[in-house]
Structures are given as structure tokens and as C-alpha cells.
Amino acid sequence: MIRLNNIHKSFDGNEVLKGISTVFEPGKTNLIIGRSGSGKTVLLKSICGLFEIDKGEIWYNDRDFTQITEKERKKMRQEIGMVFQGGALFDSINVEGNVRFPLDMFTNMTSVEKQKRVEFCLDHVNIEKKAFRLSPSEISGGMQKRVAIARAIALNPKYLFCDEPNSGLDPETATVIDKLIQALTKEFQMTTIINTHDMNSVIEIGESVLFISKGEKEWTGSKTEILSSGNQKLEDFIFANKLYAQMKGK
């Protein structure tokens, strides 16, 4: 579980996060949604420690991430997996090498054990063996995202963060990625936080949704509640897409 308590973050005097408090539960796909520039990415990067927050608390179960030492934080990072918007695979190593990298860096596993783990992770994201030796530039965007997910779960993390994991993908592949993240979340009981502005993702896998607007928490709920939230800002965001307006009968 991850609990945020009154998170504030500013850049050059411009307050981007204004006191956000919420809880992200394990075994669920927790979505952060909002318009571009609403502070979603800053929030996600603050939670995982890529940005230092100005004020507030970030609790990973019973550990306050803002209070622990750099050494403890480094160790804790091994419990975190992250999937970046563009995949962020290391382009100097092949698919297999990308998944093996965290194992090489942080475990004392034998080569055989590492290979087994790599195959296990890549198999879980449906990457065929023939693609193992290809470099990231030789595979499609959807495959890159799946390899990024495989790398993120290589160390068996407790927490998984995904920054717009299906951006730039066709709707079918985007759904595959969404479903894959949800399935992995359930299987490994991870606390998964997904940053998205894709309403299809919300409808598909939005078990818990946090809507933020201009750096403030506007609404929380689930995908079943979202169409009848009664929150004007949320409705404006959702029904900007005509399809959902039709669903609502607007």
C-alpha cells in the first residue's frame, strides 16, 4: 500500500502539487487521471522519488519514503518497478539484456537462474523467444512496452509505476498492455499506479481512480462510479471525448 499525505511540490515558485492525499491499494490497478499539465507526471515522479517533494509524507506500507536515508532509499528502489512512457529500454543492449540488467546489478543469482528469470518475465508479457536477441530499435512500440514491463517485474517488485504505458499505441495494443498490467498486478499482488489520460484505460482497468486538476485532488472512485461522479471538472474531462458523452446520453 502507498499512502500520500498532503503532498506539495513547486518548481520555481509555481506550485504544481497542492496538498494531495490519497491511498493506493495493493492488488489493484490504481489510476491517476487528469488533463495534460494537471500534475500527474510530477505526482508519479514524486511518489517514486525522482522528484523531492517540498512538503508531505509518502508512506510505502510502514516506511515514510521522505524520511529514510539515501542508502535505505536505494535499497527500497529495488522493490519498485517503473514503466516509462517511451519504454526507456537501454538501447545498447538487447531485449534479454534489458530484463537481465536489474538481476545482474542487484542479485547474486547464477547465470542459469538469471536466464530462467528472464525467460519467465518475458514469457509473462508474451514476448516470443525469437525476439530475445533483438535490440530495442528492432521491435515494435507495443513490444518495447511489454519488454519494459518485463524489466520492471524482474526483481519481483512490490510497487509498479507506469507513466502513460499505452501512449502512442493503437487501441488494440493499448488494451493488451492495460490488461497485462492488471493481470500482473493481481498475480504478484503489487501496488500498481498508472498515470494516464486515456479514458479507455479507465473503463478497462480503473479499479481505483484518482482525478487531479491543477495539482489538486478532485475526485476518487472506481470505473463504475466515474460516469456518475457529479464532479463538474471530472465530467468536463471525461465528456471531452464524444464517445463517453454518448454513453452518458449527453
Partner: protein
Amino acid sequence: MDFFFHIGRYFTLLKRVFARPEKHKMYVRQLFHEIDTLGVNSVWIVIIISVFIGGIMTIQFAYSMSNPIYPKDLIGFGTRDTLILEFSSTMLALIMAGKIGSNITSEIGSMRVTKQIDSLEIMGVNSASYLILPKIVAVVLIFPFLFIMSVFFGILGGLVTGPLAGVVTVPEFLQGLKFAFVPYYITFSAIKSLVFGFLVASVPAYFGYYVQGGALEVGKASTKAVVNTNILVLFFDLILTRLLLT
């Protein structure tokens, strides 16, 4: 103010670079990769440039010493000392700042803009150390070898070009090479090449590591890195020459 900001940030980065590595084995593997990429791949360009410059220097020395009052031996002597004292250390460092330096900035800069560095940080890897330390060690290790190779091939270039151009005979050139040789010059230039190696790796790495934006900014950072490295190489050349040679 901008200057002091960069100096401060450069040393802060160096502090992170020289932090204790997470796993030595991974760094050693990366070091060999960098020696191959940055060092072995530079051997041909060093040989080609040195052979040509050695030949050109020999012809130019012959031209400026065309007065019969000067013994022909001075051509080999002049070529040798110029190569050892300045070309094979300083000029080579300037050339390598263009080749190796821009390579380092664009590689690290691309990793920054494609979030690969963030990805390392999230995993708990000290990205500054993992990406930059092997490059610095590799370049510092290979620079003295490139220096010696450059001196050798520069002299070879002069030895072949001079007699072919008919400006000096082989015995005269060889006699000049042996004339008034000061072994300390080799030590002096080897020290310079170590310092230049450090600058050629660390300054471009700094510019790459802090790139913000996209491909355009990576290109701009590469240009900045090469210009600044060249200025620093010349500045340190002046300091080291003053300290070690006078």
C-alpha cells in the same frame, strides 16, 4: 554566475561519479566495453592523422630550414620534439574531444531525453557513476597509449614523407631523431595526456548528463561540450607547461 553554477554542478556530479559502485563486476564489464568503443575505435583515426601531420611537419621544417646554414638533421629533431611536446598530446586531445567527447555527450544526452537515466535511478543504480566512471577510466587509460602511438606514427610519417619529397635523407632524419633527446619530454607529455583524458571524458559527460529537452538540445550540448573541452585542454596545457617545463 552561470560559470560558477556550472563549476559547482560539475564537481557535484564528479562526487557522485566517484561514489562506491553498486556492483564492481558490472562496472568492469562496462569499462572493457568503453575501452573498445572509445579507445580501440579511435586507433585508426590517430594513426591516419599522426602519419599525415608527421609528414607535413617534416616538409614544413625542411621548407623553413632551406638555408644551407641549418644542418638537415634539424628536420628530424624538430619533427620529433614538436610531436612529443605538443601535437601528440595537446592537438590529439583537441581532435579526440571532437570524436570521443561528442560521442560521450550524445550517448549520455540521448539516454537522458529518452528517460533511460531515470530508469537507472528508479532501479537504485547511481546513474552518474555507472554511466560516467567507466568512460573516464577508459579514456584516462587509453590516452597515454594513443599519445605514444601518435608519436611513433608521426615520426614514421616524417621518415617516409621527407625522403620521398626529397627534402631530407633517411640517415639525416634518423640522426635528427637521436639528437639532443630529452626523455623527460615523454614523461611531461604523458602527464598531460592523463589530464587531457580526464577532461575529454568528464566535461562532455557533464554536458550530456544535464541535457534537457530533445534531440535538438542533445546536438547543442555536444557542440558546447566540444568547445568547452577544447578551451579547458588549452588552459590546462598552459598551466602544465608552466608548472612542469619551465
